[in-house]
Amino acid sequence: MNALKELYQQTILDHNKNPRNFGELEVCNHCAEGHNPLCGDHIDVFMNIENDIIVDVKFKGAGCAISKASASIMTTILKGKRIEEARRLFESFHDAVTSDPNSTIDEMNLGKLAVFCGVREFPARVKCASLAWHTMINALANEELLMVKA
């Protein structure tokens, strides 16, 4: 049961029950839709980016506790970050959840994202944890939308 407690930490259960930044943005110049066809998880990520800084970010969608908590925590972290910082965080997060369960993780570097370290024990759940992040990366690349709306 230790692995389970590691996976469903209190923070994750809390964000699942009360997701932060849930909903659509009124001012939005980057957005993307993420979908995991295997399990039906679905998420929309909305961002307002000005001068390479993520001024605001929200999400909406339906999914399991891991995917919802991951999206919620991601939005709280990204607000105010520069685009390259967001990309770097995605890399660190992705490396952590896909790393070998026996290797050591630099939790300091991950900050709040360290609560997702337990996911690497559950290969079937990696996609749940990373759906929001992949969608956010797609939203960043969504330049066409930026030009239309800006």
Partner: protein, 409 residues
């Protein structure tokens, strides 16, 4: 009723994997609609083939090839008798249910389906009985029509009757739904379709292991099944088809075994069933599937059905006692499959939690996305029972579900 005593311990002892532990808990395998476990008799048949007479079939004059050919064709005969087909010529080996449907869609479709023709399926089909027809419809500019289902997950028969018309060239319907457990009234569907001369394909992937199927009594034109869902190996399945219909259809794939003679000017196709079996087949798969059918027949389909009905009744009662649990699929005629959702816990989280308790279930859309949309759920948790499941396992399942609810509240 017969005097048969269902010796569950003896049956369980035939399945080596059932004695293993998962996350330090005794395995409770409730994912039988996805695939079933294999009894020692099937494992031995597969092992015996590779150990003692592995060889190619239909072409060697040597002893091993003859033994392999006999083993392969014996399996065909077992399946013919199992389904009560008229002859072995009507039993085509395929890779599984999916390939069987693709074969019919491709071959029957090429010959008999034209522009503006209609193909009739139901709203509870597995993706494998939707997509092959969509591909065909795209090629032929024909139309896919869907029989709607009610809130219980049953076909609305009056709607089916309304959809029947001379433009319909085939009705392709699932016997038992893999995600809802609904048992469709296929005999009635076949009879109504035949009144208009429309052939019917029955997807029996989820039914042949639970109840006796007699293709001649049903009168179905095609029936498709998989070996791995009936306690046999993966990668093997069957297409049953009426001989005259199969004879009128063009080959599905070209290659060795499906020909009588080949020249660059003209090739003469082989007779049934070989016309549809190009290339070296899954010899060991067929032999394993034959062994699996002999195994379930030694228990008896009627006894299996009886046992599984008891499991379904008990599990339904236990699960409905859990507050916040809703069963998706409440047809009057149901097989031992229960899909459910919980008020505050997503199926994925249920699946991971149950796995750590040693309980294997399926979570997701079960390859039936239209069913999920019909019931407005993104996914469900599904338990599906087999010959070796017990009431004690249902108790473990119910306790585990209660635990996961507690964790999330």
């Amino acid at each position: 009723m017969n005097d048969y005593i269902y010796d569950i311990e003896a049956i369980r002892a035939d399945f080596p994997v059932l004695s293993r532990f998962v996350h330090d808990k005794k395995l409770v395998y409730l994912d039988n609609a996805a695939t079933t476990q294999k009894p020692q008799q099937v494992i031995d048949a597969v092992s015996n083939y590779y150990t003692n007479y592995n060889s190619n079939i239909h072409r060697g004059v040597h002893k091993l090839s003859q033994e392999a050919t006999v083993g392969h064709e014996r399996a065909r005969k077992i399946i013919k008798n199992f389904l009560n087909a008229a002859s072995e010529a009507e039993i085509i080996f395929t890779r599984g249910t999916t390939e069987s449907i693709n074969l019919v869609a491709s071959s029957f479709g090429q010959k008999f389906i034209h522009e503006n023709d209609e193909i009739l399926i139901s709203a509870m089909e597995h993706h494998s009985n939707i997509v092959p027809w969509q591909i065909l419809c795209e090629q032929k500019k024909s139309k896919l029509k869907v029989i709607p289902i009610n809130d219980e997950g049953e076909i609305i028969f009056e709607e089916f009757e309304k959809l029947l018309n001379p433009k319909v060239k085939i009705v392709s319907i699932v016997h038992i739904s893999n995600s809802l457990g609904t048992i469709n009234p296929i005999k009635k569907i076949i009879d109504y379709s035949h009144k208009l001369g429309i052939p019917v394909l029955v997807d029996a992937a989820q039914s042949v292991q639970h109840q006796k199927i007699n293709v001649r009594e049903l009168g179905c034109d095609f029936l498709v099944l998989s070996g791995h869902k009936i306690y046999g190996p993966t990668g093997i399945g069957v297409l049953y088809g009426k001989k005259e219909l199969l004879n009128s259809m063009p080959p599905y794939q070209g290659g060795g075994d499906m020909i009588l003679s080949v020249s660059f000017e003209k090739t003469i196709y082989n007779e049934l069933p070989y016309k549809f079996e190009a290339g070296t087949p899954n010899i060991v798969g067929a032999i394993g599937m034959g062994a699996a059918i002999e195994y379930i027949e030694s228990i008896g389909l009627e006894n299996i059905q009886n046992h599984e009905t008891q499991l379904l009744t008990y599990a339904t009662k236990r699960l409905l006692d859990i507050p916040g649990l809703k069963i998706i699929g409440t047809a009057a005629e149901k097989s031992a499959v229960i899909s459910f959702v919980l008020d505050f816990v997503h199926p994925h989280d249920v699946g991971t939690f149950l796995d750590l308790e040693g309980v294997a279930i399926r979570t997701g859309h079960h390859c039936t996305e239209p069913v999920m949309r019909r019931f407005k759920v993104p996914a469900t948790s599904r338990v599906s029972f087999g010959i070796y499941n017990t009431a004690e396992e249902i108790d473990i399942l119910a306790a585990s579900i209660e635990n996961v609810i507690n964790l999330f509240n």
